[in-house]
């Protein structure tokens, strides 16, 4: 798989804060690349440098297709959805699409973009009257209007309800199916699990881990989690096995589920309400940083 973007030794300093500290990674062509981390990890700063919106204090971002360092001219070839963007008031969705369409030399046919982002129902609606999900779909449409090969999505589902989030994921999967390269930042680990082929986990401006989600989970977790209601397990058993209790549930970490279940039954523990869960990226983040996501 060829490399689309090469980020090398990137650093960004703001007065006395180092927002991004000497990070390097490659984004593969046709992959969905996830930049993960809590708020303030440096994800937005990193992708804004990659987009040519802000300049780096040091280091480089090279678009391999063009063999050129990022600058304002790259805007013809990439699509961007920002984390916080207001749209011009009093314009309808259709007028906003036309406005952005005029900025680019090559654009997708309007019918196609409307279909791709499912905008048909609210095409004549004023931007101010859009719901959160509709708004994000319009912003995604603006990012896709120039039919870019590389698309940046900065926390695209923040603030959306679960239904709207799942709809949005489906849109991103459809775009992925067209072999586009997507760079996605998020602090939702389930989103990254659903969408990303490769991930980089950032915290406090540095990369703390990178790889495919499965590689990272296999590398760090050989166990699965078993949960049981606390009242079903005697405290003696909990103490003996050094199990943790979390929110009224006993958390049992094991690499052999069958053996653990057999042991529980031997001790006459009721298995009603039993829940078995593999480690996910949330657990990985907790494992790597020793703290939960500061979302």
């Amino acid at each position: 798989m060829s490399v689309a973007i090469c980020v090398d030794a990137l650093t960004k300093k703001y007065k006395d804060i180092i927002a991004v500290n000497n990070i390097s990674f490659n984004v593969k062509k046709g992959h969905c690349f996830g930049l993960l981390g809590p708020n303030g990890a440096g994800k937005t700063t990193t992708i804004e440098i990659m987009e040519g919106i802000i300049s780096a204090s040091s280091g480089s971002v090279v678009y391999k297709n063009e063999e050129q360092e990022v600058d304002h001219n790259i805007s013809q070839q990439i699509g961007i959805q920002f984390q916080h963007t207001a749209l011009q008031d009093f314009l309808t969705v259709k007028e906003t699409l036309n406005l952005f369409k005029a900025f680019y030399q090559h654009t997708l046919a309007q019918e196609k973009i409307i279909e791709l982002c499912d905008l048909g129902d609210f095409l004549e609606r004023d931007n101010r009257l859009l719901s959160g999900g509709q708004r994000q779909r319009l912003l995604l449409a603006l990012a896709l209007i120039n039919d870019p090969e590389i698309i940046f999505l900065d926390e695209p589902t923040t603030g959306l309800d679960p239904h709207a989030r799942r709809n949005f994921w489906q849109l991103i999967k459809n775009i992925k199916a067209q072999n586009k390269t997507i760079i996605l930042t998020t602090h939702y680990m389930d989103e990254a699990e659903q969408l990303c082929d490769d991930i980089v986990i950032m915290d406090q401006g540095t990369i703390i881990e990178s790889g495919t989600p499965q590689e990272l989970l296999t590398k760090h977790f050989k166990e699965v989690f078993i949960y049981l209601p606390e009242q079903q397990v005697t405290s003696m058993l909990i103490e003996q096995n050094k199990w943790k209790t979390v929110s009224g549930r006993v958390e049992i970490t094991t690499s052999n589920v069958e053996k653990t279940l057999a042991m529980l039954m031997t001790n006459n523990v009721s298995l009603a309400g039993l829940h078995v869960k593999s480690a996910n990226l949330d657990d990985l983040f907790l494992h790597l940083t020793g703290s939960s996501l500061r979302a």
Partner: protein
């Protein structure tokens, strides 16, 4: 410069303005209310103070003549205005702007036969004017509403330009509309010029609607050419737009920009001759007012309307507005930032 991109932003900005009904109605109703209000308040004889123009005052060195002047100036509650040129003074008299013109060097004085105030002032000075030759002039009275019209239209243009560009750019910057546009191939020159020209188009349309609408009501005085009036209006509006751009070139705070725009607009509203003439004002104040674009817009428009001046007659105002526009625009473009760094 890509005209497709420029025109797209120009069109979007115009749609935004014309669909914002509250802002649109305010832009139309505010100047009309002011004009109606002032025509009502000053519907009588205007200000109560009488104004007498004295010609060639500075050339006097003869003791006898100095005494002659003194005899006039002893009369209280009269405004004395010095003129170097007799024609200017007579022009003012014919438009009822002043009530009597006296030229002591030639022992002549002029009254306006159609002005009641001129008749009264002549009576007041009857004793001092016994040895003078009485000459007459006539002319349609310029009402206060005719005089104040360029001021009110100019003031409306000023607010619309400063806040329409300054405030909107800061709002766009604050809520990341600018950042979103920066992420497209749109250049800052295309964006800024579309904003300026869109607002220029809007203020000229609004001013024309107000002028034409009110003209039915007041039948305004107009001695000059409408073409010249449009040119000075556009030049004045453009210099005010450039000033708005300069003030808003970097800020991200709506509170700060509100304060800065008030700081810019209030001196102009008070000192640019919108409400009262600067003729009798101290020279320091006049010099200060000369640095304000609204002064030149209002003075130029007033000379076209009231005195029938052409663009070459008001070349000083035209030139001043051009220089200010270039200066503000250069500084504004130099300092302009899409998104002030954190």
């Amino acid at each position: 410069m890509n005209f497709k991109r420029f025109f797209a932003v120009f069109k979007a900005r115009n749609i935004e303005f014309f669909r914002d009904k509250s802002s649109l109605s305010w832009n139309l109703i505010f100047p009309i209310l002011l004009l109606v209000g002032f025509s009502f308040i000053f519907s009588g004889d205007g200000q109560s103070v009488y104004k007498v123009g004295i010609v060639n005052h500075s050339e006097v060195d003869d003791i006898e003549l100095i005494n002659k002047y003194k005899s006039f100036k002893d009369v209280r509650f009269i405004d004395y205005i010095n003129y170097d040129n007799i024609e200017t003074a007579k022009n003012k008299l014919s438009h009822h702007t002043i009530d009597l013109v006296i030229e002591p060097t030639s022992s002549q004085f002029w009254v306006n036969n159609e002005s009641t105030k001129s008749y009264l002032v002549e009576k007041i000075f009857s004793q001092q004017l016994t040895s003078y030759i009485r000459l007459e002039t006539t002319g349609k009275k310029i009402r206060y509403v005719d005089w104040v019209l360029p001021g009110i239209l100019g003031m409306n243009i000023m607010f619309s330009c400063l806040f329409g560009v300054g405030y909107v750019i800061v709002r766009y910057r604050k809520n990341s509309v600018l950042k979103r546009l920066k992420a497209t191939p749109l250049s800052s020159f295309e964006f800024v010029s579309a904003q300026l020209l869109s607002r220029l188009f809007i203020v000229m349309c609004m001013s024309a609607v107000v002028y034409i609408g009110c003209n039915f009501l007041f039948d305004f005085f107009m001695l000059g050419r409408y073409f010249d009036l449009i040119i000075i209006g556009m030049l004045g509006a453009f210099s005010l737009l450039s000033l708005g751009l300069l003030v808003a070139s970097r800020s991200k705070s709506e509170e700060l920009i509100g304060g800065l725009l008030n700081l810019t607009s209030w001196p102009m509203m008070m000192l640019s001759g919108v409400w009262f003439s600067l003729e009798g004002a101290p020279s320091a104040l006049k010099t200060f007012a000369d640095f304000l674009p609204l002064t030149h817009l209002v003075a130029g428009a007033r000379e076209i309307i009231i005195e029938g001046a052409t663009l070459s007659d008001i070349s000083y105002h035209v030139g001043s507005l051009m220089i200010m526009s270039i200066l503000f625009l250069s500084l504004g473009s130099y300092f302009f930032s899409w998104n002030t760094d954190r």
